[in-house]
């Protein structure tokens, strides 16, 4: 069976990111998954990779992967593509994952398909990437017509399913080229994150909009999200006004999320916002304005003042937990 390379997203300690097991699930539809592990921690992460069907784990441990921007990882993948001639390469569709995919595509003369929400094998066995274009208004399938298909898959879009395999560790010799060491990382600053799940990986996202009225008013969104163990998102009106940090913006120019449940609170649902969330599985909206466009895509909606609806809702959620 053809090999399919899956680039692991992991911490230095070996914790495997959720998107990686989603990629493994997709890779199994195309062939036999081999994980590519750049950096330390592979032994610690191995068990989880085995659980989701990794036949082997190519491990290259070098400080270059964390000291330089993406180019060394792309170099490692290009080396493995050259040696193993895989049927496809799957990477996480994060900003950084897409950059790696882009460099790899140039290095190998390959078609790159980004932001796939699903991956399947076409009738001829070739990988087919499904895209939710223009914020989900159009569903398209695309394929690579040259080189090795490189697919960046949107986190949280594919449901991970376990399937046991060996995850045999295979050490790989790799030396980053001088050209790959042109952009050096001199410092990393981790923002205060707290206990909330990542916005793009969360099962539930609670987002607040203009209706929250102020930075102070937005706190109710955080409180509500915490009652559900959800991630917090914000509409552009909120981040533009400075009520909540920009990195939490959901929408056309912000993050694209696809959680099991999306709760839009005080958000009118302009096209800019819908483009970032309308592929969510279930959508609940709370808004004062009965004409708000968000109601057109909501599975369940309450017309009402969020400051009257949400506090008893938080209380009710607390009671039922």
């Amino acid at each position: 069976m053809a090999e399919v390379l899956v680039l692991a997203e992991h911490t230095h300690g070996g914790e495997v990111k959720k998107v990686t097991v989603e990629l493994l699930t997709a890779a199994r539809r195309l062939g036999e998954p081999s994980v590519v592990w750049a950096g330390p921690g592979a032994e610690a992460g191995r068990e989880r990779l085995a659980e989701f069907g990794a036949a082997r784990v190519y491990v290259a441990d070098s400080a270059d992967f964390s000291d330089y921007v993406v180019a060394p990882v792309a170099g490692l993948l290009a080396q493995l593509v050259g040696k193993k001639a895989p049927a496809a390469v799957l990477v996480a569709g994060t900003a950084e994952g897409k950059e790696i995919a882009g460099r790899l595509a140039v290095k190998t003369g390959s078609g790159v398909l980004t932001d796939a929400v699903d991956v399947t094998a076409a009738d001829d066995g070739a990988p087919l990437a499904e895209h939710a274009n223009f914020g989900g208004a159009i569903t398209a399938h695309a394929r690579a017509t040259a080189g090795t298909p490189i697919i960046a898959v949107r986190p949280n879009a594919i449901a991970a399913a376990p399937a046991a395999a060996d995850a045999e560790i295979v050490p790989v010799e790799f030396a980053a080229s001088d050209a790959a060491k042109a952009a050096r990382i001199t410092e990393r600053v981790i923002a205060e994150k707290g206990e909330r799940p990542d916005l793009t990986e969360a099962q539930i996202v609670v987002s607040g909009g203009r209706g929250t009225g102020s930075a102070d008013g937005f706190k109710i969104i955080e409180e509500f999200a915490d009652s559900l163990g959800a991630a917090v998102g914000a509409s552009r009106a909120v981040t533009d006004a400075g009520w909540y940090p920009h990195q939490f913006q959901v929408g056309q120019t912000g993050k694209t999320v696809s959680p099991q449940l999306y709760m839009a609170v005080g958000i009118s649902g302009a096209i800019q916002h819908r483009a970032g969330m309308q592929t969510s599985k279930t959508i609940i909206a709370i808004n004062k304005d009965p004409e708000a466009p968000i109601f057109e895509i909501a599975d369940y909606a309450i017309v009402g003042d969020l400051f009257e609806v949400v506090p008893p809702l938080i209380e009710e959620v607390g009671k039922r937990k």
């Binding site: 921007v69 180019a71 994060t94 900003a95 897409k98 950059e99 790696i100 882009g102 460099r103 595509a105 140039v106 003369g109 078609g111 790159v112 932001d115 076409a122 274009n133 223009f134 989900g136 208004a137 159009i138 569903t139 398209a140 399938h141 695309a142 690579a144 017509t145 040259a146 080189g147 042109a182 952009a183 050096r184 001199t186 410092e187 600053v189 923002a191 539930i204 056309q252 912000g254 096209i271 800019q272 309308q278 279930t282 609940i284 009965p290 109601f295 057109e296 909501a298 599975d299 369940y300 909606a301 309450i302 017309v303 009402g304 009257e308 609806v309 809702l313 209380e315 959620v317 039922r320």
Partner: protein, 259 residues
Amino acid sequence: MNIVVCVKQVPDTAVERTLRQGDGTLDRETPDGLINELDEYAIEEGLKIAEAHGGEVTILSMGPGKAAESVRKALSMGADKAVHVLDDALAGSDALATSLVLAEALKQTGFDLVILGSESTDARTGVLPAMLAERLGVPQLTLASKVDIDGGAVTVRRVTDDGYAVVTGSLPAVVSVVEKINEPRYPSFKGIMAAKKKPVQTLTLAELGVAADAAGLAGSATTVADFAARPPRAAGVVVKDEGDGGAKVAAFLAERKFI
């Protein structure tokens, strides 16, 4: 300093966008074309760097004749001149083909700093800045929320999933910027008038030394197999809050097993 800002004209995101029957490429003719929003931040950053360190800002755009409007707008913001890669054979270029054409154009214009938005609002691939850095063999200083130039060194604050990284490289380099890195200026009346006289050089693929079949649909490494409008979400239940809205949402959440 020779600063080149890559600008893409994209369909207005506030209107409905479609793919074309036949080849599944983006319909760029019907909707109004605007400068890709993130590219406006790139233009502003280029202008600011030129103002602070001296130099000239060149706008580089690839696109159909209509893209000339966006090129002119970029000039009216204050850029000095522009290069418009215009060729019928460009239609349908994917990211890989686009990066090839832009890299060849950049070799012709020469550059110390290439600045571009980190992604476009139409295709949203987010791969182009990295592809250009790879093709040009220069430092990739991308996803920048802050750019500092110190002599021949460029240092950026690179936005990461959990915060930021400080990344440094030497000129020449490729920089991509994220939203909110700055506040893009509006063209002044004087700027709009001046833009009419600024030089715009049009280059064809032949003039760039790129074979016609290395760009456009022919030169692309991806193809759209099929597409369809997503069925509209079934209309849900809309309830007016009568003081029991919170309880009703909770009941819905419980019914769907979210709580």
